[in-house]
């Protein structure tokens, strides 16, 4: 057996903001090809933990390993180009058209992305090639986030990080885009870490759900285990919300 390093590993990772411990000595490993959801209330430290992977946040102590190597050994911009990053604000560059936005990552390392590849990336997020020449201001919120996903995948990353990626979208768009991203994850063989405060979304999309509370890991379970009542009080209080809603909806039908 060839021993493989886990895709991402946290080792006693700790981050303080002044007096507040945002991430408190977290240790865990994320396996290749897994889709992991980081769930928790606002201020639980889930976003901060995510950002230690691509060094938008540097831990105060402990370390983060990517494929066995400490992320701090790499040059931060160089590291980020190898990791896809999608966040709630999307942050399309308003002075660049869609094609330029998608091609920005390869451009930074001196590669020109061919038109066919841009069309392919657009198709991956269910947009046709006519979008390539549009400006971000001409797009709806859902379309922008689709472009955001396409941009994150342009450099063929192994890892996709998503920070509340669908938080600002309407429920229909949100559902469609969530499914789309899960399909891309499977097709491209990505390792995906998604931060969300929506337990339903986490249960439906992820293979593994990590629940964070006050900087610590409160639960680490599969969706099935959580629905079966495992994972402790904090996790169950979050699972209760969608479950109660589902039961109430079922009651309306019955």
């Amino acid at each position: 057996m060839v021993s493989r390093h886990p895709s991402i590993a946290f080792r006693e990772t700790t981050k303080l903001f002044g007096e507040v411990t945002a991430v408190d000595a977290i240790s865990l490993e994320i396996e290749d090809d897994s889709f992991v959801a980081l769930v928790g209330e606002s201020g639980s430290g889930k976003s901060t933990l995510l950002k230690t992977i691509n060094r938008l946040v540097d831990p105060d102590s402990g370390s983060v390993l990517m494929e066995g190597e400490d992320v701090r050994c790499a040059d931060a911009p160089e590291l980020r180009r190898r990791i896809g990053y999608v966040f709630q604000g999307v942050g399309l560059f308003p002075h660049m058209d869609v094609a330029e936005n998608i091609a920005i990552g390869p451009r930074l390392s001196g590669t020109r992305l061919p038109g066919e590849r841009i069309e392919e990336l657009l198709a991956g997020v269910e947009l046709d090639g006519s979008y390539a020449s549009r400006m971000p201001s001409e797009l709806s919120g859902g379309q922008r986030q689709r472009i955001g996903v396409a941009r994150a995948l342009a450099n063929d990353p192994h890892i996709l990080l998503m920070d509340e990626p669908f938080g600002a979208l309407d429920p229909v768009t949100r559902d469609a885009l969530g499914k789309r991203v899960r399909a891309l994850h499977d097709r491209l063989g990505l390792t995906t870490v998604m931060v969300t405060h929506d337990m339903a979304e986490a249960l439906l999309l992820a293979d593994r759900v990590l629940v964070m509370s006050e900087g610590r890991l409160a639960a680490d379970r599969t969706p099935k285990q959580l629905l079966a009542g495992e994972g402790g009080e904090i996790a169950q209080s979050l699972v209760a919300v969608p479950r109660d809603q589902a039961e109430a909806l079922a009651g309306l039908v019955g």
């Binding site: 990053y85 308003p94 002075h95 930074l108």
Partner: protein
Amino acid sequence: MFEALAGLGDKLAAHILLASSAIALGIIVALPLAVWASRSPAVARITLGFASLVQTIPALALLALFFPILLSLRAVFGEGLPTLGFLPALLALSLYALLPILRNTVTAREHMAAGVLEAADGVGMTGWQKLRLVEAPLAAPYIMAGIRTAAVWTIGAATLSTTIGQPSLGDPIFAGLQTQNWALVLAGCIASAGLAIIADSLLGMVERGFAARKKWLIWTGASVAAIGIALSAWSLRAQDEDAIVIGAKSFSEQYILAQLVGHRLEEAGYKVEYRDGLGSAVVHNAVTTSEIDISFDYTGTVWTNQLGREDNPGREQIYRTIVDWERDTTGTLVLGNLGFENAYALAMRQDRANELNIATINDLARSARGLTIGGDVEFFERPEWIAVRDAYNLNFARTRNFTSTFMYDALTGGEADVISAYTSDGRVAADRLVILTDTKEAFPSYDALLMISPEASQDARLVETLRPLVGAIDVDSMREANFSVDREDNKKSPREAAENLAKKLGL
């Protein structure tokens, strides 16, 4: 009026070069500062604070302040450092241009969407790539708006650089104000305002080009501006380094004397340039440091301001002392006394003096408590006034400052009861003013002097060309020449007045 406008070609070119250089320097300094400020709140506070502070200094004072600053910097950079003209004007105006560019750039950075900056980091931009690909293009329209504001301010403020010896569109404005030649004033204002409007619309075009991402707008605006600047530089290319520079303070007599000397030197084959409208304090320093070659001063002025004397040992003694002092301390040649005196004197309207029964300054002291005295802008700060005030114990109800031209109008119009008149001024006779007798001789004498800079005094032929002027101009002729420029009707230009004066005196 059109004639006046047409004659402004050189001034316009000099103005364009000065203003565009100042804006360019302002941009070169402001942009890196703004980038630094956008990364450090402390730097932002300090730079914006400094730039705002500079803005509160009146432009006229800021320009004047660079003279002593550059003078003291000569200790570091050597005697070759210019203290008047282009350099100080450039530095002062660039400082003035800083604030709008700096503020707009910092504001643009503050208002940039946080998501866009996070995305720039997230996709893996280095600091430099982020600046070049995201921050600069997004800030460009704001920066251009700042540059537009700076350009309009700078073009306006550049008219004031006349006072420190830099040719500009301020030359006709200052000369026109002094000689009440309103066509000249208007021509200067229209040219400067027109230039500001043109610059603003060209830069506006560039700004719109950045905002709408239309490259042709950017290129059109920038190219037209660049062509204008290049044409100005080209038209000024033939500036002669060896020209003799004649300085003049900002009143008619000085303009006429400058033209008289200039004409004479031209006939002797010299190239001549004029620096009209220099501040009185600047002139003495300029000639003693060879920044200008020739100036006209008055014994009393040098006596009190440069030698710091308050006593009055008599006309001849004062003159001798000044000649020796200039030779020994500054190396400047006092070629001689031109032959007339332009003294400060207190003057009143005939009817008012009769009514109050005033003939001497002593008489005036009795009634002063109920009267208003008007002086030119510097009079009440001058040691002569302080000496006279203390000698006669003068105590006026009000003191008011006027430009020397409006001072006479204020007296005839009754807004002042007494003014600090100049004895060679044509308006003293024309307005039939009474000069109050200075029984205590508190005012020193003010014989007009022809001064030649240490450098120019090495030129024996120049000195000999000018020597016939010594003792040649009597006070009546000077007064008549001054009046021909100052009067309302049949106004002469300083050049015409100088020609008439030369003809009359057989020079």
